[in-house]
């Protein structure tokens, strides 16, 4: 395999930092400092991506609605969400009488910790990967389902009937759609034969899983997008918040920074879903490569891998916004119908079909090894 020139990759920078630390510190201390650095970077990226997403969402929503959206702060309102963040930080935290204090204050942390844990495990680019478990997909599913505990606690401890109803809706919704999300990822695990993100990405060098597994993979992709959307409680699945029904659902009573946590995690969860879909179905950070077209491949590599990753995830997020601002909200029974009567049965059949296709070597890589083979 040829080695392409990758001028904008961060690999060299990372290696330089690594060498510097290894050279000046004992191995234990070096690892500690590296851990802290990675932690700070992840938190910073978390906050920045969320702020950017909030701005983008407001702008895109406005354009879908024939409005201009935020346009007061900075050119085109670009620092609007920064100003909002400052406002949220200095806002008073309102204490609720008769609320369960401990659970009430703990709830936002559950939500945000779960989403940071999932965020940290994402492969952002070539070698831009904090953790590369051999059970990456499994880990991601596990930690991202922790967030529901925070939402349930928030609804329960607020001592508010709207919050309570919102939280219960959220519980039912999350547990149902977790199944579908899990099964659709399993379909791809069957296809690529690994749970490790780096291997999944490497396996998609010449052919994305979406095309490699053709029909079942595409069905799995659609189902994953739907259920991922539902898990993040965003429209048309925003029943737990349901502004026009429950005012703000489970976070009705929250204010200031605690509300900010819910708000940030909502946007970040959207990003996580898009990122996982990108990694698993669309080749992750891997640039578009065509076997044999070396110049083309080299050209593609001039665009750094992290740009590929954010570009693909951005497209999926735009799609998510598009859906959100096009549809009305489902009702709880319609929502559960969709999951238990449609998505889950289709998913189970789909998984079986995928197994058959992989075993009978009907994937694109098997059928056309000259074009797509590894």
């Amino acid at each position: 395999m040829l080695i392409y020139s990758q001028p904008l990759e961060l690999t060299k920078l990372l290696a330089a930092i690594n060498n510097f630390l290894q050279g000046n510190l004992s191995p234990g201390w070096a690892n500690l400092v590296k851990g802290i650095l990675v932690g700070i970077l992840i938190l910073a990226a978390y906050a920045l991506i969320a702020l950017a997403l909030i701005y983008i969402e407001r702008k895109v929503a406005a354009f879908f609605q024939a409005r201009l959206g935020p346009n007061r702060l900075g050119k085109y309102g670009v620092i609007q969400s920064l100003a909002d963040m400052i406002k949220i930080l200095i806002k008073e935290v309102i204490h609720i009488n008769k609320a369960d204090k401990l659970l009430f204050y703990a709830a936002p942390f559950f939500v945000i910790v779960a989403s940071v844990l999932a965020f940290g495990a994402l492969p952002f680019g070539m070698n831009l990967h904090a953790l590369d478990f051999n059970i990456g997909v499994f880990y991601l599913l596990a930690v991202s389902s922790l967030g529901i505990i925070g939402i349930l606690l928030a609804g329960w401890s607020s001592n508010n009937k709207y919050s309570m109803i919102g939280a219960m809706r959220s519980g039912a919704q999350f547990i149902s759609y977790e199944l579908s999300a899990g099964f659709s990822l399993m379909t791809i695990v069957v296809l690529s034969g690994s749970m490790q993100f780096s291997e999944i990405i490497e396996g998609q060098r010449y052919c994305w899983n979406l095309f490699n597994g053709h029909l079942p993979a595409m069905i799995a992709f659609v189902i994953y997008l739907i259920s991922g959307h539902a898990e993040t409680n965003r429209g048309p699945f925003d029943l737990p918040e349901a502004e026009s029904e429950l005012t703000a659902g489970y976070h009705t009573e929250y204010s200031g920074l605690q509300f900010g946590f819910f708000y940030l995690s909502e946007y970040l969860n959207m990003f996580i879903v898009a990122a996982v879909a990108t990694t698993v179905f669309l080749g992750g950070w891997m640039p578009i490569q065509i076997k044999g077209w070396e110049t083309f491949n080299q050209a593609m590599w001039y665009i750094p891998s992290w740009a590929w990753f954010f570009g693909k995830a951005g497209l999926l997020m735009f799609f998510s916004l598009w859906v959100r601002w096009s549809f009305p909200r489902l009702r709880i029974d319609l929502l559960l119908n969709l999951e238990w009567k449609y998505l889950l049965p289709i998913n189970l059949v789909n998984l079986l079909v995928m197994v058959v296709i992989v075993l009978s070597e009907f994937t694109l890589t098997d059928l056309f090894p000259a074009l797509f083979g590894k």
Partner: protein, 553 residues
Amino acid sequence: MNNRDAYDTAMNEITQVIQQIAPDAQIETKQRLTVTVRPDQLHPVIEALYRNETLRFDYLISLTGMDWGDRLGAIYQLSSSVDLTQEVIVITAMADRDNPLLYSVTDLYGTAHLNEREIYALFGIRFINNPDMRRFLLNDHWRGFPFRKDYIHDPKLNPETVVSSEIIDMAPRIMEREDGALVEETVAVFGEEDYIVNIGPQHPSTHGVMHFRTSLDGEIVKKIDVHSGYIHRGIEKLCESMTYPQMLHLTDRLDYLSANINRHALCMCIEKAAEIEVPERAQYIRTIMDELQRISSHLLAWATHCNDLGATTAFIYGMREREHILDIFDKTCGGRLIVNQNVVGGVMFDIYPDFQKDVKAFIPYMRGRLKEYDDFFSHNAIALGRMVHIGLLSREDAISYGVTGPAGRASGWSCDVRRYKPYALYDRVEFKEIVRTEGDSYARYLNRLDEIEESLHIIEQLIDNIPSGEVCAKVKPIIRIPAGQFFQSVETGKGEFGVFIESSGDKNPTRVKFRSPSLSAVSVIPLISKGAFLSDLIGITGSMDFVIPDIDR
């Protein structure tokens, strides 16, 4: 509809029916059949009219509490659901001011329930056999009955308070036992263990300060208790101290989405009473403006209904199209929401030079948008799931609760005032009355969109033919209308809006009552939302399309 003879025979028959039950009833047949009966004959007479075989008077248009100074009473305006041109007025009065009692007609007309509670709050008349005799519009501890002529308007009597008081869910009532004895009792509105959620008064989907106390079983609505009156301004009482031209500006503030049509009704009522001829040009302008207003009202109803179902984008689209109409209003009469266009005798402002051009440009634009709404929302699988077979309102219930307008017509009740009692130019234009029989939220939704198309059609027929001439008849500076009772109803965006004026021949009326279509819509919500999901309750309120200031007059 009916020719004169058929009308007379029908009325003769009704007269006979009434005379059988109440031989001493005073019956007048000047304009409409007006029957004055003793309080104890009231219920039998109305029941006989309700059960009359040939023409059932099953639609209670309006129930008006009255205080004639020496006597308290009520006026029942009855009509028939099959032929809205037929009207009977039943009047009753009593001298007892300390404990006035009347028999309730809630067993016959669903709409009577809230109306009787309103009369109790404002006039102090209690109704026997009404299952829940709390005050409506006023709170439980209000002192005095504000609409009585001898009410002492003293702020000390009912001081403003900033302390919230608990809502007591205990309803007093007077029931008649089998042996005829009256029992005063209180009943609990909700059970001990009910999980009660307050939808409103501050809630994004009640479209104003409406308060539904909702008892839930999980997400299923078990019972709804309607509270209203948070913005009750006593407009009817205010009107009693104003001259007729002054009164006009208050009607714009009832159902503000049909401001122009409301004002049209009041103007017509005064014109009819004072026998003022309205110039042809003014009639054209009034009709076109009414139809534009109806489109804007339906657009907002569509927009908020979609918003209630969670489609925020649709809300913005509806508002955007409505803006075009408001611009036309703005240029015509200098107001957008509160248009102040109609005056007694015609209209205040003539149309501006580009009016026809603007309206003609709007019509194809709106048609295109209707197509877009259709693609965007009307067939959306999620939207269908949220509307089809939801909030089923049967024809009988629609009539009983007096639900008119697009909502009533969605239940298969043809009740368009423009068709049955044409006013302005509606007898000269051609339009379809949109009637659907499904009775669900979706039928109400589609009815509004179809009515927009019909309104465009009406405007198209008129816009090129506006005759030249005066826009306002010569009217004396002080308008006096002869002594008597006058009623005029119109079709607003929400349904049948009526103005009732009782005059003693002075320059102020002695009683004004507005028949509110929104009140009927709200009164039926507990019935049609029972057993629905909480989310559907929101969807149903959106599909009924009510405006709170119209209820809290």
